[in-house]
Amino acid sequence: MILAGIIIWLVGAGLLAWLTSSRGDGWPRWITLIALIVQIAFLAGLWIGYAGRSDFTAPGRWLAELDLPWIPALGIRLHMAMDGISLLFVLLTDFLGVVAVAASWQGIRNRLGFFHFNLMWILAAIAGVFLALDLFLFYFFWELMLVPLYFIIGIWGHENRIYATLKFFIFTQASSLLMLAAILGLYFIHGRSTGVYTFDYSGLLGTPMTSVTEMLLMLGFFIAFAVKLPVIAVHTWLPDAHTEAPTAGSVILAGLVLKVGAYGMIRFLVPLFPRATASFSMIAMGLGVAGIIYAAVLAFSQTDLKRMIAYTSISHMGFVLLGIFAWNQLALEGAIVIILAHGISTGALFVIVGDIQGRAHTRDLDKMGGLWSIMPRMGGAGMLFALASLGLPGLGNFVGEFLVLLGAYQVNVPLTVLASLGFIVSTVYALWLVQKTFLGENSRGWKLPDYNLRESGIMAAMIAAIVALGIYPQPVLTTAKAAVEALRAYAPRYHAVLKDDAGSRESASPGKAGGGAQTVAAKAGSRDRIPAENRSTASGGS
């Protein structure tokens, strides 16, 4: 019930904010803010409680689970569960929710009730995505997420918002419907071969199917996740959506909506289709590396600040893709850390850009310069997050990207080398960003007010989070560890397939290619054992 409570709490707060908006502007703001902070405190309490449990690091255990019949005629259940990854991501959701609310405190002036309702609606849907274990439920939340985002961009966005929403919509809608088709394909294949028609995640794991079918279904899922992530080639909606979105929309978009794609790959794509993803992994990793470099180069050539940050997001998500398809302990944990760190750092950058735009009414890089001298607090924060973005050691992003590279190195050396080039390019664009906006001389004669207490508060919280993640990531890694191990056990032969496919490329170092932990898992988990393990997984919740 905890899990349903998390979502109902958010939706309820949103409704309350909407209903009370007629009483005054303060009502929706404070209601959502307090609701989110209370939920963060509650989740943090849970986290500490779980961390004390002896089985916290044992793989294959849900920390909390909810499993009720919903539409029995179709085998649809209200099945939600939380493991370490979900917990971290829901926390990130709430945290960025607070940031979004705080960042819109002054920026959003009209239709406040509906705005906050939409905001909470997105957060609830995203939390639902992170918790759903029934594929139907997953799709349900996945679709639910789009509508409020459409409204936030379409109603509160900038000049060109109609075009942006159209593009955003066509991309996401078409791709998610492809995923629906794939979900149904899986449902029927599983039903025909076993006689049990179910959308349940643990039930569908290990569904026997031919490799062609598996590949097709996998692609259906992959495209949906890839559009959200976004993977290069289907990324073009993102810069436009970001440019037109209000600050809160950008924060949610970059911090959470992109992560949903990554989460889907980690939770569903590889475990459900281990063989197909393994044979696809070289392409996917290649796409990841291409994205890292291509988007970083494009970011460098942008003059619109928001567009620039949007492209850096694409670049960072390339690392995530690389890490996921490398599929070993290090890379996966790295990907999770990137997701958290990027959520915070890019969220902060969008907030800063939003603040600049709110003050100077422009986002054009060429019109800025010397802002540090007039706004030292903002300049300091901007500098810090730009450095985080380039992967400065000691900040969260570095930990994640380093882990991903370490993990990917065990799988494919050339790609890893290429990916690390991304570090260099990102250094260039991040420094360029700082140089053009904050440093240099204030040639335009800007006179803008510096951060007030509220804005400084937001930044302080985000700085604290990113620094904590960079200096002491261990709690996060510990929390994710068991979940990652459990997920990897679903695809025990992943690297074996990988080796068969790409054996020639990796012949130089066979011992290394297998890596440490994952070969153990690969050997330990024979295919026959998977269903048994799933069952224990499903039943072993609270």
């Binding site: 019949p69 919903w70 539409i71 029995p72 005629a73 179709l74 239709r111 509906f114 139907f136 799709y139 349900f140 939340f141 679709e143 639910l144 789009l146 509508v147 459409y150 409204f151 379409g154 109603i155 929403t165 159209l166 919509f169 066509i170 809608q173 078409a174 419907l177 492809l178 629906l180 088709a181 149904l184 394909g185 449902y187 029927f188």
Partner: protein, 472 residues
């Protein structure tokens, strides 16, 4: 006809009796409210007789009608939709001059026609039911006798008559070939028989029904009729007449085995794809809310064809559920039109701009209906569309599923755009408020809750459909 036979068609008998009662009362005492109440009572009585009729089990009543769970469930949908339309008509007519009472009589007769359609097991009853429905609709569409209404009425009359002629000619070809007009015997006699004439007959029959359902390429009438008819009648055209026509289409072709005839299957596939894309793409271009909904309904009937072409019990459940969801949704949408549209052009976007600010609750209902049409989670349309795609995927109709998926992706866009328009700041000169009455708000509220219920917890409805409304 035995007593049990009569019980089996009790809902139809009650509807007919209500119509006769209304005209008798009209001849001595004209009262708008009284007529409306009598009509509503008739509909409620007919609905109350559904379980009674179900108790005599599936049985053929003469060769013309068959009373089974399927027929009764669809009749239930028809009665509920007609009930809503009747209340909306009351709200609509209250503020308008002229004679109003005949409208209720015609609504009863049209509902009876639709119910006969879903009961029919013979060409004669199919034809008569369809005509009863259409003939009442000609008048209903032109009812206020304004220029737009009359235009719409004439257009509908011409196209409906042409389609009826197609239907009749198709029937006669099938009859000439097989020597029977009963569905069940056509099914058995038609199994082995191939023959160009039979295929042509079935094809013409399908064309006739496709006209009524406004499937592409027989859809030309829909936008004009949706725009020209008075709003409650539009709701009726969009819901009841579609339910009736689709009900009989499904029953007949399921028996006749559309899968058995490759050509027919191909034709239906093409019609489905054309309707889905045609409806959605043309809807993108519309600046009028009613025309937009008309094109959207074309595409929705296209979606339904996907499950219609699929095989198995899942397909029938999917169609029935979707029709249920669609009916609740579209009646709600046009119910909003009744309460919102002023005396200007029907469906003008100006009536809807800023609706959220002027009349938030009604706008909420409209938003719910549009979400449901778009297939957004939490609404009936989401579960319905999921069901349809499931039925298509279950029969491996991947091309159709893909078309459904892509075209409904297009569709979502214009529904949401309309919602954004409702949320824009109202214009300086707000349109004059249209008719309001508490009963209209009540019906809209009920429909809104129904949309949510079907979207959030559809299990009881699906159970009911699976227990009752399956064709063998």
């Amino acid at each position: 006809m035995s007593g049990a036979d009569f019980v089996g068609i009790l809902p139809l008998a009650i509807l007919a009796a209500a119509a006769v009662l209304v005209i008798l009362v009209l001849s001595v005492y004209r009262s708008h409210l009284l007529t409306c109440i009598l009509t509503l009572l008739g509909l409620v009585a007919a609905a109350a007789s559904l379980p009674v009729a179900a108790s005599v089990g599936p049985r053929g009543v003469t060769i013309l009608l068959i009373s089974d769970g399927y027929a009764l469930f669809y009749t239930g949908i028809i009665l509920a939709a007609t009930f809503s339309v009747t209340v909306l008509s009351y709200v609509f007519l209250r503020s308008r001059p002229g004679r109003r009472e005949e409208l209720y009589l015609l609504l009863l007769l049209a509902a009876l026609g639709a119910a006969v359609l879903v009961f029919s097991s013979h060409f004669a009853s199919l034809f008569l039911g369809l005509e009863l429905l259409s003939s009442s609709l000609f008048v209903l569409i032109a009812y206020p006798r304004g220029i737009l209404n009359v235009e719409a009425g004439i257009k509908y009359l011409i196209l409906a008559s042409v389609s009826t002629a197609f239907l009749l000619f198709g029937m006669s070809l099938v009859y000439a070939q097989l020597g029977t007009m009963e569905f069940a015997r056509i099914a058995t006699a038609g199994r082995g028989a191939g023959g160009a004439i039979l295929i042509a007959g079935l094809g013409l029959l399908a064309v006739g029904l496709a006209f009524k359902l406004a499937l592409v390429p027989f859809h030309m009438w829909a936008p004009d009729i949706y725009q020209g008819a008075p709003a409650p009648v539009t709701a009726f055209v969009a819901s009841v007449s579609k339910v009736g026509a689709f009900g009989v289409l499904l029953r007949f072709f399921r028996l006749a085995g559309v899968q058995g005839h490759g050509h027919l299957f191909l034709v239906f596939t093409l019609i489905a794809i054309a309707s889905m894309f045609g409806g959605n793409l043309l809807a993108l271009l519309q600046g009028n809310v009613r025309r937009l909904l008309a094109y959207s309904s074309i595409s929705h009937l296209g979606y339904l064809l996907v499950a219609f072409l699929a095989s198995g019990a899942l397909a029938v459940t999917a169609v029935t559920f979707y029709l249920l969801a669609y009916t609740a949704t579209i009646v709600a949408a046009f119910g909003v039109a009744v309460l919102v549209e002023g005396n200007g052009a029907a469906g003008a976007i100006a009536d809807y701009r800023g609706l959220f600010w002027r009349r938030p609750w009604i706008a909420l209902v409209m938003a719910g209906a549009l979400f449901s049409l778009a297939g957004i989670p939490l609404t009936a349309g989401f579960i319905g569309k999921f069901y349809l795609i499931g039925a298509g995927a279950g029969s491996s109709l991947w091309l159709l599923v893909l078309a459904l998926v892509i075209s409904s992706g297009i569709g979502v866009y214009y529904y949401l755009r309309l919602i954004v328009i409702m949320y824009l700041r109202p214009q300086q000169t707000a349109p004059e408020a249209a008719s309001t009455h508490w009963s209209g708000s009540l019906i809209l509220g009920a429909l809104f809750l129904a949309i949510l219920w079907l979207g959030v917890y559809p299990a009881p409805w699906i159970d009911m459909i699976q227990r009752n409304a399956l064709l063998k």
